[in-house]
Amino acid sequence: MIAHPIGSVAFDDGLLAKELETIERQATTPCTGYAHGSWAKCILAMRHAGESELRTKPAGEAAPHLMERIRTTFAMTHVKVVQLFAASNGGFVRPHVDWKADAPLCTRLHVPLRTNRYAFNSEDDVVFQMGYGEVWFLDASRPHSGGCFSTDTRLHLIVDLEAADSLESVFAERSEYAPSRHLDAVALPELTSTDRSAIDGLAKLVTDANLGTMLDFLGAIHFQRRVDCAQTYEWLLRIAEGSGDAHLVSRAREYRRMYLTPFE
């Protein structure tokens, strides 16, 4: 497990809650294609190629307290983009990797701004929860996912900085760096042989119409069973092979490539 908390941000809870309500109502854009259900995002600020200054977007302007806390906490000269990810009602992002371990596109930090007991993240075979205001480093070269299985919306601040050799350098003040190996991992039952048989049995039902929804179903299983989230794609491929349909096998292989080795 590589993801871990590296510090925290203190907010004025009342001010933050008001700002988040405004952004949530006006500015989040739903994501489809790689997410299931209610999963949306919103860019607060961005540094365009060749520019030295981070440009605050309208959603960021609607959240002066949040932006002030970001500016005082993080090394702004290294920040590339600041976003919000919103998930609710079973919305989750399919297990995926974002880049190769030896070629990170950025250093990605998560800061939960609003969360609940059914908001989870995962890396490999570990499902964990992040606390409000904690700054988490996520290694996006590992298969990972995240979602919220409550009607309450989970909101994470995502800060992408230039890929750093040292996590200390992501903070405005190096003294803010306070790594912890304490992990609030969710205890999950192991995948049983009955579970595996049920998954394999989907070969009787898989078609071109439902391959994508089957992927979403398989991608959610690791939130309930202790199993590597990347297994999603091995199961899907085995189901497709079990159907005897070459087109489905080809699509399942493409899903696996798209989500686990997009850089190859």
Partner: protein, 269 residues
């Protein structure tokens, strides 16, 4: 007897400017919480019968941007009875879960679909019948029946959706009723569900829980596209799988999902 039926076709469909269809595809769409994958809608303009809470939308702005589309609509329909015109877009296996728009006698609208861009894998359904609407055809959809639709291919399917005043009969909103021929959908032939397939669904019981309920609902909501089965069966299966699993929270969530889309369980589906 089917509620959905084809009322005919827009004769001027061929006059529709392709650039207008592309403009509609490019417009920002809003998602629907009851959809899976890429499915979105956007409002175009409101008519005299609009009674919704949202502000009316000026038709003149649409006339400037989409002149041939508006001409087609005004030539084919009695727009004095129009409440709102929208587009529904589906692509890359996006679909709407089986649902009812209303129950009982209080009908909120008379809804017509006109496919503007489609493909053979763009399908609609009502109860156990799955069918395809051809481009330019005018279709009435009975929202009190269990129905839905989607695009089970990578292409974009674009439907113009016209909601007329609820008291307007579908045929009465056509300007030239005599020029149109009404007919039921041509059902897509699908093989029956086998006992092994039914068993495979029930075998999913240990895997159904809080995280998997929503994606399993979507999965079950696609089975009828390929198997001769009532689309409402998705929710019966969901409830049966949950009941087999025995977890009270999951049983309640499955029941609530069924009720959300089909209405209270004591009503026939």
């Amino acid at each position: 007897m089917m509620g959905a039926r084809c009322l005919g076709a827009i004769r001027q469909y061929s006059a529709l400017a392709p650039a207008e269809i592309q403009a509609l595809i490019a417009r920002k769409k809003f998602p629907c919480a009851d959809a899976a994958g890429e499915w979105g809608f956007c409002d175009l303009w409101t008519g005299p019968a609009w009674t919704g809470k949202a502000p009316a939308l000026d038709v003149e702005a649409v006339r400037r941007e989409l002149p041939t589309l508006l001409q087609c609509v005004e030539d084919a329909f009695d727009v004095s009875k129009l409440a709102i015109a929208r587009v529904f877009s589906a692509a890359r296996y996006g679909f709407i879960r089986p649902h009812r728009d209303w129950m009982g006698s209080e009908v909120p609208f008379t809804r017509l679909h006109v496919p503007l861009q489609t493909n053979p894998r763009a399908l609609n359904f009502e109860d156990a019948v799955v069918y395809h609407m051809n481009a330019g055809e005018i279709w009435y959809l009975d929202g009190s029946r269990v129905h839905g639709g989607g695009c089970l291919a990578d292409e974009v399917r674009l439907h113009l959706v016209l909601d007329f005043a609820p008291q307007a009969a579908p045929e009465d909103v056509l300007r030239d009723r005599a020029a149109h021929a009404s007919g039921p959908p041509l059902p897509l032939s699908r093989p029956a569900m086998t006992p092994a397939q039914r068993a495979a669904l029930r075998d999913l019981r240990p895997l159904l829980g809080r995280a998997t309920l929503s994606p399993l609902t979507d999965l079950l909501g696609t089975i009828h596209y390929d198997r001769q089965i009532d689309s409402a069966a998705a929710y019966d299966w969901l409830c049966a799988i949950a009941a087999d699993g025995g977890d009270p929270e999951t049983i309640e969530n499955a029941r609530a999902t069924r009720e959300k889309y089909l209405g209270p369980a004591n009503r026939s589906s």
